[in-house]
Symmetry: C2
Subunit: 421 residues, 2 copies
Amino acid sequence: MSASEELVGNALVGQSGGPTAVINSSVAGVVAEALNHSEIEEVYGCLNGVLGILNEELIDLASESQQAIRGLRSTPGAALGTCRYKLKTQADFDRVLDVFKAHNIRYFFYAGGNDSQDTADRISKLAQAQGYALRVIGIPKTIDNDLPVTDHCPGYGSVIKYISTTVREIACDNEAMGQHDLVQIVEVMGRNAGWIAAGAALAKRKDHPHDAPHLILLPEVAFSTEKFVADVQRVLKREKYCLIVVGEGLVDADGNYVSAAEATDAFGHAQLGGAAEFLQGLVEQNLPGVKARTVKLGMAQRAAVHAGSKTDSDEAFLAGQAAVKAAIRGETDKMVTLLRGDQDHYTVETGLAPLSEIANGVKKLPREWINEDGISMNHQFLRYATPLIQGETPVHYENGLPAFARLDKVRVEKILPAHTA
Amino acid sequence: MSASEELVGNALVGQSGGPTAVINSSVAGVVAEALNHSEIEEVYGCLNGVLGILNEELIDLASESQQAIRGLRSTPGAALGTCRYKLKTQADFDRVLDVFKAHNIRYFFYAGGNDSQDTADRISKLAQAQGYALRVIGIPKTIDNDLPVTDHCPGYGSVIKYISTTVREIACDNEAMGQHDLVQIVEVMGRNAGWIAAGAALAKRKDHPHDAPHLILLPEVAFSTEKFVADVQRVLKREKYCLIVVGEGLVDADGNYVSAAEATDAFGHAQLGGAAEFLQGLVEQNLPGVKARTVKLGMAQRAAVHAGSKTDSDEAFLAGQAAVKAAIRGETDKMVTLLRGDQDHYTVETGLAPLSEIANGVKKLPREWINEDGISMNHQFLRYATPLIQGETPVHYENGLPAFARLDKVRVEKILPAHTA
């Protein structure tokens, strides 16, 4: 812990990019921890990420009920709202600092992926250049699990728990339908990397290599129609059904998305089918008499708190807490990372990495974790991923359905004139 | 209770048609109850429905562990295997009776939908015609909820609980993405009736009519592009996102499936898109700049025990028990029905209805339960459906994922020569 000057002022937390099942848990961690430190006078949230800063749309998080803040630990979406807006101009950045100064924001916590950490980094650098004392700590968030340095990203454990659960359930169903050959195709997210699709490997029981999923198709492995058809035939012969998990970003040997080949129809309309429909077409064209059915989990997968990982939710909360603790210690310009212990049993603690390193890096799915067959994951991946799905996020049910937290969103009074972009 | 001759012999239970989240619970109910009655000597299961009878593929259910039978109460799929095979010829029916006679089957329990109850009925009639003492009781099963007489069908409560949960979660996600207009389309099963899509109405909180789903598109309401586009625009203006639940069997004013209009592409290949892709195309053509995203739950929805209704699972078990009790009482040629009490609080008891009445009837979604706007359900539907999703099916987790029961399937020795179709 570095001895640093005490910095007294207000804290601001924001959420950015696509929501996950646990990004709200990180906000809960920030709020819970912030209230422990007298240096932090007010705890604000910005609505819709940096957009809320530009528009001076801040809410008072300390006035929310404890029940609501606790409820965030099992509420999907982004309770503060999120955005994909990228700060563009110097005027944008200056406006951010103007708002920070107007509201005496001295601590800024931003939960998001690469782009969001880049934004946080640039805000931090600008404050330093202007001599405005500000501590900026990023909180990792992405189902894509592609942030560098950190062992894994909050959001990833829950998405692969949900997908593995779904695959295991569909497999029970398909296995029971023994009469006709059936190909079941489950499309999952992951435009650039196979982290999410790979996670479906957890659905296999230990020592049951023939369990579903039978084929995992990853963007990291160039797609070949011939191999695909042969793989499907081999599995059908053995199991009578073939359950395939495909990442949406499947590419051919030239690096083109497989579903992009027919990207427009005869009228020039965008072709709407994705990777699953592409494979369904291949099955029906190449394997007459074989039925192919698709499931597309879409945004359901990143919101599925009801099948979420408690480990993931707890780590997201921990990351929020750690962000506050680090800032109070005097750290800035860093993102919280998750560090896995080297014991046999899984342990995790938090670390810090420079925002600039996060913003410019991408963690790829290691090729050596993919089996030689190109369609399954080996024990190194399983050892990595299994701890991340342990435990079930406790969800509060009301009248038969999950009850999610909603914030009162008491607005902080605006001080500045309206922003003109 | 009618005084009837005691009939001593073996019992056989089978599963038929598409699996549900609770059809195994009905088998568990049959087995648990059968062991209470000395009239029933052995409890067998037939593999893959009537196909297993034709092929004399019977298993000894009494030899399964109690753990496995209990586990069936929260295991998706059809643990005995299922089929869509329809007994066709007199030779088929004669073979069924030959197998029953060879194994002294005196009690036959068949879980399934209309077609399966028809099959059971015909087997029963044949036995009567031949003077072979046999008691046949059907057990209702279908996510489609379209069997007549019974108040509702085991399987329905779980599918609508899962869909409502998913809709509520996606809504949290979409609501957070306030920057661009977003249309989210969730396609659910239901080729001929809107029971399943209607169930998504449960996702709305009480007294929050503007909650998602904003549009429920049912096969019962002829689709109009103009109204659809206007409805979407109205919701987008208010909410910035529009969550649509569409039943796969959506039809136009002429009664044709909306997705069938473009049933073949320029090469004569079957057009693979379903109702969701059809609507996505309409949004993108008619509302420039509005993003449309799809989720297709497919077979995941009928297997989702992890989000299953305890009420549904318990009632499926109860129906299995009731089938055995009825047969022991001397009933035959009937299907177990679920009867709702007329108190304010939900109660259910079982009844019986003639198989022939079930086989030839269909229960339609009442038009008067659909609001005038054609896209939402009224309080009568909510009063009907809400009790069916109460309670969460207790799922046993191992290593982070639901652990499902698997039967040992100890085969009953074959006695007859092989079946020749």
